[in-house]
Amino acid sequence: MTMRKPFYLQPPWNVLFELHKLEKVKPWKINISFLLISFLEEMRKYGEVDFRASGVALDSSAFIYLMKSKLLLKLEEPPVISKTKLEFIPPPLFLPLRYELTSTTIEQLLVALDSVLKGEKLLPLKPRLEPILPPPTEIIPEIDRYLMEIEDMMEKLFQRIELLIKGKPFLNFTSLIIKRKKLEAIRTFILLLFLAQRQMIWLWQEEELGEIYISMNVEMPFDGSPASPA
């Protein structure tokens, strides 16, 4: 009776079980994650849970990881310095100092000046080159204005919260940003953080990633200073 060849001895999984094949393959070409997941799926499909095969697969995966790591480390090694024959390097030769009369005369200086001044006269006739500035981007001034007007916007948001919260103990963040664009929602959230940091409002959540609740700090007027006791 012939034994059926187990599925994992066929490609692509066979690379994990026939280690001599690993030497012929570039480690980068082996997707270990894919091999192991599909290996487990296949095993589940056949209903043959073979712990020896799993063990070998694990061992092979570790080995492939090791090969990959070694290749990476090899890249970081400094290049091998070729052993050049040590040869005699002579010391620097210092030049002897000699005065030398140079030949430039005042006439030559004046001839040079003449040609430069002619060039200077022509200068205004040349078209003036204006510096080419890059076109202004849309984002930077927007952010600038946003930052510059932040106090103003904080006050407006605070007034809006005051209006919406009337008669209620708290307000939820979703109601503040309803029907608003994403960027505006983010800005509103940032402004809330500023207001909370100044203790003008309180923020809390009942669960992580859950709704944010806002309540007023009744002891703080807008200017940020504690209210004077009545």
């Binding site: 100092l97 000046l113 430069v116």
Partner: protein, 192 residues
């Protein structure tokens, strides 16, 4: 001012130091080929005393004067000293000077700075082109110009060495008048 001190007896340690300083003074004047001030001469002669530097230069001058040589040491009005060829020999040997101080490009830049000084670096760049950055570096290294101020407000002017080399006065207005006169141009340099 103290009377220049005669070199001490050559047998003593002080005499050796004097001789060494005298040789250093000569070395400095020879290599520089331009007038040197007492501060520079003192630093070369390893002394802080400008008076000693002056005594050394005067002693060296006397030594040169006493000897049959084509070279002389001159004391300028501002207490600077220069080693130079005696003018009577110039004619016979000046043909041996074959190397120009500067090539044409840097010379043009230098002449413009001399004529318009003190001139904003920006103006020099406008008139002569961006390539003159290299010229300015060379002229500065040769001690022919100085840059004053920083960044966009840099101003250029020529140095005393420039004036000495071309035989101009050290006075800026005087130099401009000299240039204008020699140049014979009807364009008066802008006084700034």
């Amino acid at each position: 001012m103290e009377v220049p001190q005669a070199p001490p007896d050559a047998s003593t340690k002080e005499a050796k130091l004097w001789q060494q300083r005298l040789a250093l003074t000569e070395a400095a004047l020879y290599v520089a080929g331009r007038p040197l001030d007492l501060k520079t001469l003192a630093s070369v002669a390893k002394t802080r005393s400008r008076n000693l530097a002056k005594q050394l230069a005067i002693a060296l001058k006397q030594e040169y004067d006493s000897r049959n040589t084509s070279l002389e040491i001159m004391q300028l009005q501002d207490s600077r000293f220069v080693l130079q060829l005696k003018p009577i020999y110039s004619q016979r040997v000046k043909r041996l000077a074959i190397r120009p101080l500067l090539t044409v490009g840097p010379l043009k830049t230098l002449s413009y700075i001399a004529y318009r000084q003190p001139v904003p670096q920006k103006q020099v760049l406008n008139v002569r082109g961006q390539h003159v950055y290299g010229h300015l570096k060379q002229l500065e290294e040769l001690g022919l110009i100085v840059r004053e101020g920083v960044g966009r407000t840099k101003t250029l002017r020529t140095t005393q060495f420039f004036a000495d080399y071309f035989g101009f006065t050290h006075d800026l207005r005087g130099m401009k008048r000299q240039l204008k006169k020699i140049f014979g141009s009807d364009q008066s340099p802008k006084e700034k």
